[in-house]
């Protein structure tokens, strides 16, 4: 029995040894790696791309597996490594193809993008060019508007300035006119003959000048116009009085000169008197210096006394004096005959003066008879004085 048990145990031990000796060793890591590599998703592509390499790898896989199973681990590892190399080689080729495809795709995309960008860039350039033109146009429009506005402003300023200058000139002219009018009024001594109007005109002119200073041209013009009108009125008001007084004064001066000259004449008497508004210078020529007895014709040789009188009448300074040739007689005799005698003698003297160049239009002749005696008619000397021809210069 013991023997049987011993035999059995021996048999079991022998079987164990046998089983241990015949068991497959652990699979090499390289073989595992090769099998994982073979399951790579890219492997179908690799087989298509490099069928020879994959076939060789498959062969190495089979060899490695066989060697492993036959316990030849060294050979198994070597084949597994070779198989990996072949598979990885094939996969590298696949990767290259993929990269080439990526490169080609990228180049296509680049080309497409570049083409599209070129087109877009061209559109952009065109648009930017148009924008540039539009901006330039806009800028030019703005500049033109500004220029136009500036021109308008300048024009308006010029017009305003011109209008202002014109207004100033007009105002100055009107003020000058008023000043001239006042000066003109002064020439007729308006301060004397129209003092109210003159004073008013001067005040209004002062006001106008003040308004000119304060640039109130319209008011200045109005004031100057009023001042001018007032000055004109003053002139108009003063002129008649001025003229009259001036004439009178002049006449008086001339009359004084005339009287002095007449007084210096030989054989005549000169006197002055006033009759109404008329002033008179009377040059009395005794009748016996011209006539013989009752004659009416100037006696020959006696008319020389008229020469200086005629020269006096013709003298330029006295040409505006009207002259009356008035004959007188003494109070004796009939009035009618005296009037005729005095008138005839006056006419003779008149003619003699005309003969000596005196303007006939300046003179008139009349006879007054025995009127207006200048001496006592009761004496012979008085009657001789009253018997006369007077040359009367009239003035106002």
């Amino acid at each position: 029995m013991i023997r049987i048990v011993q035999v059995c145990l021996l048999a079991v031990f022998a079987a164990g040894l046998l089983s241990v000796g015949c068991a497959t060793p652990p699979k090499p890591r390289e073989l595992d790696a090769l099998e994982r590599l073979r399951a790579n998703p890219d492997m179908p592509a690799a087989r298509k791309r490099a069928p020879d390499l994959c076939k060789k790898a498959d062969g190495e896989l089979a060899t490695a597996t066989k060697k492993w199973q036959s316990n030849d681990l060294g050979e198994s590892v070597n084949s597994a490594l070779l198989g990996q190399i072949f598979f990885r080689h094939a996969l590298a080729l696949v990767d290259q193809d993929k990269s080439n495809v990526r490169i080609a795709d990228a180049e296509d995309a680049l080309s497409s993008a570049a083409e599209e960008r070129q087109k877009v860039q061209k559109d952009l350039d065109d648009t930017n060019e148009k924008i540039g033109l539009l901006q330039k146009q806009t800028q030019m429009t703005v500049e033109m508007k500004e220029l136009q506005a500036q021109r308008d402003a300048d024009k308006k300023a010029d017009e305003d300035k011109l209008a202002q200058e014109k207004l100033q000139a007009e105002t100055a002219a009107k003020v000058a006119e008023a000043e001239v009018a006042i000066k003109t009024a002064e020439t007729v001594n308006a301060p004397k003959y129209a003092p109210e109007l003159y004073k008013s005109a001067v005040q209004i002119l002062d006001k106008a000048q003040g308004e000119v200073q304060s640039k109130q041209m319209q008011q200045a013009q109005s004031s100057a116009a009023i001042a001018k009108k007032t000055a004109d009125d003053a002139f108009a008001a003063a002129k008649p009085s001025y003229d009259r007084d001036s004439q009178a004064e002049e006449n008086h001066k001339k009359a004084d000169a005339l009287f002095a000259a007449a007084s210096a004449l030989p054989g005549v008497t000169a006197r002055r008197d006033v009759r109404g508004s008329l002033q008179r210078i009377i040059v009395a020529v005794p009748a016996d210096r011209l006539f013989v007895k009752k004659q009416t014709v100037i006696a020959p040789g006696k008319d020389m006394v008229l020469d200086p009188i005629a020269e006096l009448i013709k003298k330029k300074d006295f040409q505006n004096f009207p002259v009356q040739v008035v004959g007188y007689t003494d109070s004796r005799g009939g009035e009618t005959s005296n009037l005729a005698l005095s008138g005839a003698r006056a006419q003779s003297v008149f003619n003699a003066l005309v003969t000596r160049g005196v303007d006939v239009r300046r003179m008139m002749a009349s006879g007054q008879g025995g009127a207006e005696p200048i001496a006592d008619g009761r004496t012979a000397a008085g009657r001789a004085s009253n018997h006369r021809v007077e040359i009367v210069f009239l003035y106002q």
């Binding site: 070779l82 990269s99 990228a106």
Partner: protein, 159 residues
């Protein structure tokens, strides 16, 4: 006829000793037969050494080309294998050396392809970056065009 007899005959005739000649030839041939395997083994060792040197040089070249260090592991493995091959050669295990060198050769070819694949991938990446940049530029240009059209329309309205 043995060799000694032939030598004696040649001497006697005053001619070159045929026996000696034969003996020398035989010896030469014997030595040659003995030397051929030795020489062949020596030539094989040299040949393997040249292959190992060549593959080491190849490894260096590949390493120089691998500026992206994409195949550093494979090259390190190849160096290890070549060291192993050198050791095996030293141990005159020429058959095993050839197996290893064949594997190294295959590895070198694979590494070349991996390098090429890596370069192409880098090129593809660069191209794709370029594409991305170009598309970015295109998008910006399109946007600029859109804005320019808006500006143009606004200006046209103003003008």
């Amino acid at each position: 006829m043995n060799m000694a007899t032939q030598r004696n005959r040649a001497t006697k005739r005053g001619q070159p000793n045929e026996g000696m000649m034969t003996r020398y030839t035989t010896m030469f041939l014997f030595l040659a037969v003995l030397a051929v395997p030795v020489m062949a083994r020596a030539g094989e060792a040299d040949d393997l050494q040249r292959q190992i040197d060549y593959l080491k040089q190849t490894t260096n070249d590949l390493e120089r080309q691998d500026d992206q260090k994409a195949v550093a592991t494979e090259i390190a493995m190849m160096r290890s294998w070549l060291d192993n091959a050198w050791t095996l050669r030293s141990q005159e295990k020429y058959e095993e050396v050839r197996i290893v060198l064949d594997r190294c050769e295959a590895q070198a070819n694979m590494v070349r392809q991996l390098l090429t694949a890596s370069e192409l991938a880098a090129q593809a990446d660069a191209k794709e970056k370029e594409v991305k940049r170009a598309r970015g530029q295109l998008d910006r240009t399109k946007k600029a065009l859109e804005n320019a059209k808006i500006q143009k329309a606004r200006l046209e309205g103003r003008v």
